[in-house]
Symmetry: C2
Subunit: 262 residues, 2 copies
């Protein structure tokens, strides 16, 4: 601006100038990043967080009611897994699918999901700039991990033989996507001094770190559960097979014991 | 250049000019992308491809010798799986690990791996520009899928109870990384008209498409094998458990049959 110091520019407020230059004033980082046709959210942050929490709460309540009513035989950990995968299915398919489908129209969006994404994007503006990695990862999440989460619900309720392989696949998919999500962002931050997150700790720690960390912790626990249970099944099968083959009838009860422990 | 048509610039060759401007002339796309301290490869493409093929051939030969000598009990498909995972372990850990470790020094590299990467980068210049996604994906591949491929070799040879869970994990990790690799590149090509690949068909179809497609096809087959085998194991366990519990000794042979079929 020093070039025009002596030119005495007319007192035009910042926003129209920015608009005239085909840029919009916005709160996202890095400063100056282009957000196409940006419009500020109509709802405030309290309204948005309340809406999101209500949605999540409703999904969990309905799932819990469904699980206890239609699958009362499930043990507690499996009921929790049902709740988790219903929530994942809804968030992956509808919320992340919304972003994947509308990634070029995020800036001006004023529907609930659009405003929620714009609030979240204060911690990661890549959601408003069609970042190739974020878009591809979210698209795979919406197309694969979303519907497969619903399949997981069915598999848990029916004790399906493919329950544990699918549980490992969906959980690893979530973990890998999430680790890459963190890693690409932190690499740009530390190596290229390019931050997509506003400087306030709230955005980094609550939106960026914590909200995504949930998809590291729970899938890791479910992946571990899947590996352990599958390993136990193969061990039980091997022992039983050996017992029955080598010792005949006398080993039946031992072999049966192994199955029960599996 | 039309701007300077009448200025008769001194006859300086292109390269020193580019160097003076802190840019180097290079064959990578998109045109003008900055490759820090680029030096052309000392070996030609025939020498590089021969070296790479010899390396891969040696690894496969030694693995095949080792598998037939030390694990002759393995069925053919498991021997092939051993060869595959030795190759994956070597490529992921050493070759992709080289890139991950040296990503800031790729432009001038003249050792064999450096030159191989520069030849490959003709199909994807992101390997010479520390692209965040490519770097993070390759780092995860080198750190996790590389060593875990070697663990897989041990698990296959010992018929370990965790063989099939780990086979699913490594294979899905390879597939997901590869799908994201294709997807981010094609998105930039079609959506942002930004191509990282030279225009010659050879680079796109042989280097970019075919060389990576191997890591879609074989891991998909191994993932399928893992899911199917695990499903069979759970089914066999369930049937055997039911048979033994409800019918007692008379069902022993049937249950045993189920294990054998699993």
């Amino acid at each position: 601006m020093n070039f025009f110091k002596s030119a005495q520019p007319p007192p035009i407020p910042a926003e129209p100038v920015a608009e005239a230059l085909n840029h919009t004033v916005h709160p996202f980082y890095p400063l100056g990043v282009e957000i196409v046709n940006y419009l500020a959210n109509e709802k405030d942050v309290i309204q948005l967080l309340t809406s999101f929490a209500s949605l999540v709460g409703s999904i969990l309540l309905v799932s819990w009611y469904g699980a206890t009513k239609f699958a009362p035989h499930l043990k507690a950990s499996d009921q929790l897994a049902v709740l988790w995968f219903v929530l994942c299915g809804m968030i992956h398919f509808f919320f992340e699918g919304y972003f994947s489908y509308n990634h070029t129209r995020m800036g001006p969006a004023q529907d609930l999901f659009g405003q929620l994404w714009k609030e979240y994007a204060l911690s990661d503006s890549r959601y408003l700039t069609s970042d190739p990695f974020v878009l591809c990862m979210e698209t795979i999440t919406a197309i694969f991990w979303g519907p497969l989460s619903f399949v997981m619900v069915y598999f848990i309720i029916t004790s399906h033989r493919y329950r544990y392989p699918l549980q490992a696949i969906v959980s690893l998919g979530q973990i890998y996507g999430d680790v890459l999500y963190y890693a690409t962002c932190l690499f740009d931050h530390y190596h290229k001094s390019l931050s997509y997150c506003r400087p306030e700790a709230y955005y980094f720690w609550f939106y960026f770190f914590f909200m995504n960390f949930i998809w590291i912790v729970i899938p890791s626990s479910l992946l571990y559960d899947s590996i352990r249970t599958t390993g136990k099944a193969f061990k039980a099968l091997e022992r039983m097979s050996n017992s029955l083959k080598t010792n005949g009838v006398s080993q039946k009860s031992t072999a049966n014991g192994h199955i029960k422990n599996a």
